[in-house]
Symmetry: C2
Subunit: 155 residues, 2 copies
DNA sequence: GGGAAATGGTTGCATATGAAACCAACAGGG
DNA sequence: CCCTGTTGGTTTCATATGCAACCATTTCCC
């Protein structure tokens, strides 16, 4: 816990974690988004929905919302777009007509089988300068921050 | 460089760096943005402009754009809003009439003297679960990724 | 010097997004 | 069973933002 408490004035954004983190994440996200968007015409939200469906097979919008922490509306729109493109199928849940069960279609699966390796390759290039250990540590640290964030929000 | 090359299908977004990083950064940024916004009615862009001006004393829009990597337009609008509120002053540069020199006003400075400690305190809470060393390492790793990103973009 | 290209900054436009209102289906007391 | 409250999901509205066109000034080069 670096408490540089005293320091009265001088403030450098470059040493401010939220700023640095956000600016790095934005850059990464945008670079990657270009890849999804130009090559496959997918938004980030759409890609996330697809990826989760690939991972979990069958989900409802709510579950995706919880997994990704995206806004209701954002999920809803992504789902709609994907359905329109025939990449996912959506049918009312038998036990609750409000819910819709979402699944990949064949086309969706095919697209993902193409996309995932691309994404992985891109990530690999990005993290090339990190050792395996450093890579792991980065995740560790992020997880720790997420935990703390949850604690801070949860009160 | 974790090359888990083979792995044909299974893909978990939670282990995908761009996703995790972005989602963490977004959460942090939003939480903090609420602080700026509700307490001082500042957008993130505006906060960044102010913070840089606090740090560097006098800057042009372009310099801010370079420092923050924000869009021209975003900077321009933030600057305008800040000027309207009397938090910064803007005057044409003597040696180039296109440029405007930006500076904090007294009011702007006063606001920052209030805001900066708040921001610092918030950050301190966030990173409370990290040791000083881990905190440093996190910056180190982020810097490494930024470097790589630059390399990837620059070709 | 004078026209072409470059540069700092602003504005118009299209799109993405979050918040809130809304709608339909379900749950639970009375 | 109704009637109220809740919940999954959609839609509407206001705002933020990136891109591109634009304007004014400066610089380059002949």
């Amino acid at each position: 816990m670096p408490t540089d408490d005293a320091a009265p004035t001088s403030f450098d954004l470059d040493h401010f974690l939220p700023y640095r983190l956000n600016s790095l994440a934005d850059r990464i996200s945008q670079a990657l988004a270009r890849l999804y968007e130009t090559r496959h015409d997918l938004s980030v939200a759409q890609w996330r929905v697809l990826a989760w469906l690939h991972h979990r097979e069958q989900l409802t919008a709510k579950q995706i919302r919880e997994a990704t922490r995206m806004d209701k509306a954002r999920v809803s729109r992504a789902v709609q777009a994907l359905e329109d493109r025939g990449l996912i199928r959506r049918r009312p849940s038998p036990e609750d007509q409000r819910r819709h069960e979402l699944r990949l279609t064949e086309a969706g699966l095919a697209l993902l089988e193409e996309l995932i390796p691309e994404a992985r390759a891109w990530e690999a290039e990005l993290v090339a300068p990190l050792s395996v250990d450093e890579y792991r540590q980065l995740f560790e640290l992020m997880a720790r921050l997420e935990g703390q964030l949850g604690r801070l929000e949860g009160e």
